[in-house]
């Protein structure tokens, strides 16, 4: 008698394969028996089926403990199931894939044969790319390696048994018959034995009186059924990818919609210390690709920014203690101020110097209609207060100053947009600074500005803020590399790589049809220079679709059929219980914001 064991996943046709094989042997005059292991049969679950073949009537029943041949329909099972169980010397294992380098993927005294069943199935149009149907394919290979099975009987049995495409199935079995080969090579370097289920109770005395279970049990860990794994990751939405200053706009708007204006202001300050200026002057590219435009009108992001900036509250920004490293920033325009602000918040002792008696640089030249001087004053005051930096104004930018700087500072940064003001002595001053710097081992950073930013254009203010933050980032990296006393706190993120970890966002992932149009007209206060009240800001923020950004709407949790998605009160996103997630993909389909995607993750 020979015993054959099939390993597959529910839906792959392992049970049908066992029946076809039994029919083929039966047609040849053998006594046969075929049966499945009846367990948690669902699509994707590990299943087994058995065939006994003999020249005499078969009287025994039940699992075949020492199979002569084991057929594996899906090699991803090798990590979960011990397919070698009971296979002794002289036994054979037939695998559905070709190992690279002809290495043995399993260790033991048995022979291994393999056929690229997936490719053959796809070639003959059996199943889909994700789930090719390999059961009849692998039977062709079986006929070759088993020796005693007549291929023509097998083909007849296949044609009589498959529900559709009998000719393709038969042809695929023929192809597989010719393609199968014995793996001759050595075992692969790192053979991982499958994880054996743990039985917590080892002896009778450990048995509790009540049939109770703590945590998960092996029997219902439906996570093993999964082909695709859900991944929840925020994506880069259009507003954020368009923001020159790299502000985390969806998170900011989310905070406003929850009534957390202070939190919103803190998030703004993580990228932009001059929100009152950008909120009034910026050309707001954030709104250009806003998906809300497809429903009614784009979100008034700039007005929300103006609202946040006008909040009469102070963000609780904790700065690290000041280090002894000193940085001088020449120029108190938006670049110099932003740069000084972020360096100050990183713990450096920063002095911002300017020739004018007022800070603001080129912004001072704007007419009051363009920019209320009071806003400029308050914005700069807040910027200085929160970063604890020193402003030294009305100083003449000359050799005396530079002499002073060279003795007292580790780094000098010159705001290029303010160079016009230094202009009369520009070349001389710069030349001197550079030579002195080299002499005294002082670094001078003189950033280049792209030609679009020259001369100063107020509507590009967010770009100047971004440059200031980038220079601060460079300076921080330089000082850290110089082993100067550098702050232990988080380094300044570069504005250029606003969100490097975010995948780009595909607008079709936002299910526009799920969001009703908002018939209300924009509030009248959305005119130039006006500021929304709290109610208007809340209503406007609630219009945000939160593209690509989890806002804990929890639709995934309510749609998960396996209760396998969780979130805690403090978490900002959801987590998946991969012990039980079957990978059905309903959450990815249901997520209205395109945050969840189904990924092929090979462990």
């Amino acid at each position: 008698m020979i015993g054959i064991r099939f390993h597959g996943r529910g839906g792959q046709g392992a049970v049908l394969a066992s029946k076809i094989l039994a029919s083929a042997y039966f047609a040849q005059g053998f006594y046969v028996q075929s049966f499945p292991f009846f367990g948690m049969e669902r699509k994707g679950a590990a299943v087994a089926a058995f065939v006994r073949v003999a020249t005499r009537p078969i009287v025994e029943r039940g699992e075949i403990l020492s199979p002569s041949i084991v057929v594996v329909l899906d090699s991803t099972l090798l990590q979960m199931v011990d397919v070698t169980k009971g296979v002794g010397p002289g036994g054979t294992i037939l695998l559905d894939y070709l190992a690279q380098d002809d290495r043995r993927p399993l260790e033991g005294p048995f022979r291994i044969a393999a056929v690229d069943a997936r490719s053959i199935a796809l070639e003959y149009g059996l199943g889909t790319k994700i789930a090719p149907i390999v059961n009849t394919v692998i039977l062709g290979a079986f006929a070759k390696i088993a020796g005693d099975l007549n291929l023509e009987h097998l083909i007849t049995a296949i044609k009589a048994s498959v529900p559709i495409n009998p000719e393709q199935n038969a042809a695929a079995a023929h192809a597989s018959y010719s393609a199968v080969h014995w793996i001759q090579g050595q075992p692969a370097a790192s053979l991982e034995s499958p994880v054996q289920p743990k039985t917590t109770i080892q002896c009778f005395a450990e048995l509790p009186t009540l049939p109770e279970t703590r945590g998960v049990i092996d029997w219902n860990q439906t996570g093993t059924w999964r082909y695709l794994t859900p991944v929840a990751a925020n994506k880069l939405p259009p507003c954020r990818s368009n923001c020159p200053a790299g502000m985390p706009i969806p998170e900011i708007i989310q905070a406003v919609s929850q009534g957390h204006s202070l939190r919103a202001l803190e998030l703004v300050f993580s990228a932009n210390p001059l929100p009152g200026l950008t909120g009034n002057l910026c050309y707001h590219p954030c709104q250009i690709d806003c998906l809300r435009r497809k429903i009614d009108r784009p979100l008034a992001i700039q007005h929300l920014e103006r609202f946040i900036a006008a909040q009469d509250c102070c963000p609780s920004i904790e700065n690290p203690p000041k280090t002894s490293a000193r940085v001088a920033v020449v120029g108190a325009g938006p670049i110099g101020l932003t740069c000084g602000h972020f360096l100050g918040r990183s713990g450096y002792r920063v002095v911002v110097l300017a020739a004018e008696p007022q800070p603001g640089g080129a912004l001072l030249g704007l007419s009051p209609e363009k920019l209320d001087p009071q806003i400029l004053k308050l914005e700069i005051e807040r910027l200085v207060r929160l970063s604890n930096i020193e402003l030294r104004l009305g100083v003449s930018i000359d050799r005396n100053l530079l002499t002073e700087l060279q003795s007292g500072f580790d780094l000098v940064i010159v705001d290029p947009s303010e160079l016009a003001d230094i202009s009369p002595v520009k070349d001389e001053v710069l030349g001197f600074m550079k030579s002195e710097a080299d002499k005294n081992n002082i670094k001078v950073i003189l950033p280049d500005l792209s030609k679009e930013l020259k001369p100063f254009k107020y509507s590009l203010i967010a770009h100047y803020v971004a440059v200031g933050r980038r220079i601060a980032h460079e300076a921080d990296s330089y000082l850290a590399g110089q082993n100067r006393p550098s702050p232990a706190a988080q380094s300044i993120s570069s504005a250029d790589n606003a969100a490097p970890s975010l995948m780009s966002f595909n607008p079709v992932q936002i299910r526009i049809e799920r969001f009703p149009a908002d018939s209300s007209r924009p509030p009248k206060t959305l005119g130039k220079g006006m500021v929304m009240d709290g109610g208007q800001a809340l209503a406007e923020a609630c219009r945000c679709l939160s593209c690509g950004t989890c806002n804990l709407c929890l639709q995934c949790i309510s749609s998960c059929p396996d209760v396998s998605i969780h979130h805690s009160r403090t978490s900002t996103g959801v987590t998946f219980d991969l012990h039980h997630c079957k990978g059905c993909g309903i959450c990815a389909h249901e997520c209205p914001r395109g945050v969840i995607s189904m990924e092929k993750i090979i462990s």
Partner: protein, 387 residues
């Protein structure tokens, strides 16, 4: 001081004395008085308990399972069709090891529709894993319910107390009411170590593979077998406090008996009456009342067989196509013990037929002489069927 009370009232009073915390039941004749009385007791606030009205016996037991699992002392009562309807969840209650106490009023199963005494309802639940006790009189009802709670909670197994329809449920007898303070000392509050608790989440009765399933069942079987001794111990403690003994079996004049008549429930009293009469006729007869059917009181049964040559079993039940259920049980447990015994199984007194002492004497005579009015079918003799 004694008080006149029906079996249903006695059962309700026992539940009050036991201070049950959860009662869920669906009314059915002849149990109805019992649940009405209990709902009054709870309604009047005499015990701090939740009374849940449900739409069926299946739900009654299901809710008792939930309540017991959170650690409440739980009670339900039913009869006949209601018990049959509970069948599925009876297995669950026992498998989950929940010390639920239930009173069943033994009533005939339909069809034909009949309200009177018959033990087939409870005996056909004997494989569900519930302990089964059959009461002798109304006093036995109140005492056995109290003992049942302590046994159930100690062994973590459910107990079914059975009383004969009308012979006990609706029969008033003077009984001794146990003192509440003494009951409180006898029966401590139920405080299980493992229960359904949101702060310590666990699953009960989960899926289980072949690796553990048999072991879990083996443990339950072992614990169930031990109940005969445990009941005896608890009944002894009860006896020391209240001066009444509720034994697993009750033997009457069996010491020298060559013929032992076996029965369960109220028929035992009638049999004792018949035994006295037979003794006057110099027939060495004795009576054995099996108060427990699950676990089967093997020890008690065998010890009553010292001199026995004939065993007469009176079944108020039948397993169609075999014989009386009790007769089978008795035979099975004496097969290895005493091969030379002669068995005589009578099916009698079902569907409202009274079994009188005269009847019992007639059965015994027919058993010994082989001649009588009872009609033979297979190995059982049916009394009082039309000729």
């Amino acid at each position: 001081m004694k008080q006149l009370m029906m079996g249903t009232e006695a059962a309700a009073l026992a539940v009050r004395l036991a201070k049950a915390q959860f009662v869920s039941a669906y009314p059915i004749t002849p149990q109805t008085n019992l649940v009405e009385e209990l709902s009054n007791i709870i309604g009047r606030g005499e015990i701090k308990a939740k009374y849940l009205t449900v739409e069926s016996e299946h739900s009654a037991m299901a809710s008792c399972i939930g309540a017991s699992l959170v650690g409440a002392r739980t009670f339900t009562a039913t009869s006949s069709q209601g018990l049959a309807y509970m069948h599925e969840v009876l297995h669950y209650a026992a498998g989950m090891r929940l010390p639920i106490v239930m009173v069943n009023a033994n009533r005939a199963l339909a069809p034909p529709w009949n309200l009177y005494c018959d033990h087939t309802d409870s005996l056909s639940q004997r494989d569900t894993g519930w302990m089964q006790y059959y009461c002798d009189d109304v006093q036995d009802v109140i005492d056995s319910v109290l003992i049942a709670y302590r046994v159930a909670e100690q062994a973590l197994l459910p107990v079914m107390i059975n009383m004969d329809a009308f012979y006990l449920t609706h029969t008033s007898e003077p009984i001794e009411i146990p003192d509440q303070a003494e009951v409180d000392r006898f029966l401590q509050p139920f405080n299980p170590t493992s229960k359904l608790d949101v702060n310590n989440p666990k699953t009960f009765g989960n899926v289980c593979g072949s690796d553990l399933y048999m072991t879990i069942k083996f443990k339950r079987h072992q614990d169930m077998l031990a109940l005969e001794t445990l009941w005896e111990q608890v009944a002894n403690d009860y006896n020391s406090r209240f001066k009444r003994y509720c034994p697993p079996v009750e033997a009457y004049r069996t010491q020298d008996a060559e013929l032992v008549v076996i029965g369960i429930g109220t028929v035992a009293g009638t049999i004792r009456l018949a035994i006295d009469r037979l003794r006057e006729e110099r027939v060495a007869a004795g009576c054995l009342r099996l108060s427990m059917v699950r676990p089967f009181p093997v020890k008690g049964l065998r010890s009553a067989m010292t001199n026995a040559k004939h065993v007469v079993v009176i079944d108020r039940d039948v397993s169609f196509g075999a014989e009386g259920i009790l007769a089978q049980e008795v035979k099975a447990n004496l097969f290895d013990h005493k091969r030379e015994l002669k068995f005589h199984g009578f099916v009698a007194g079902i569907g409202g037929k009274d079994i009188t002492a005269d009847c019992v004497v007639d059965y015994v005579r027919q058993a010994v002489s082989g001649d009588g009015k009872a009609k033979q079918a297979g190995s059982s003799l049916w009394a009082e069927v039309l000729s």
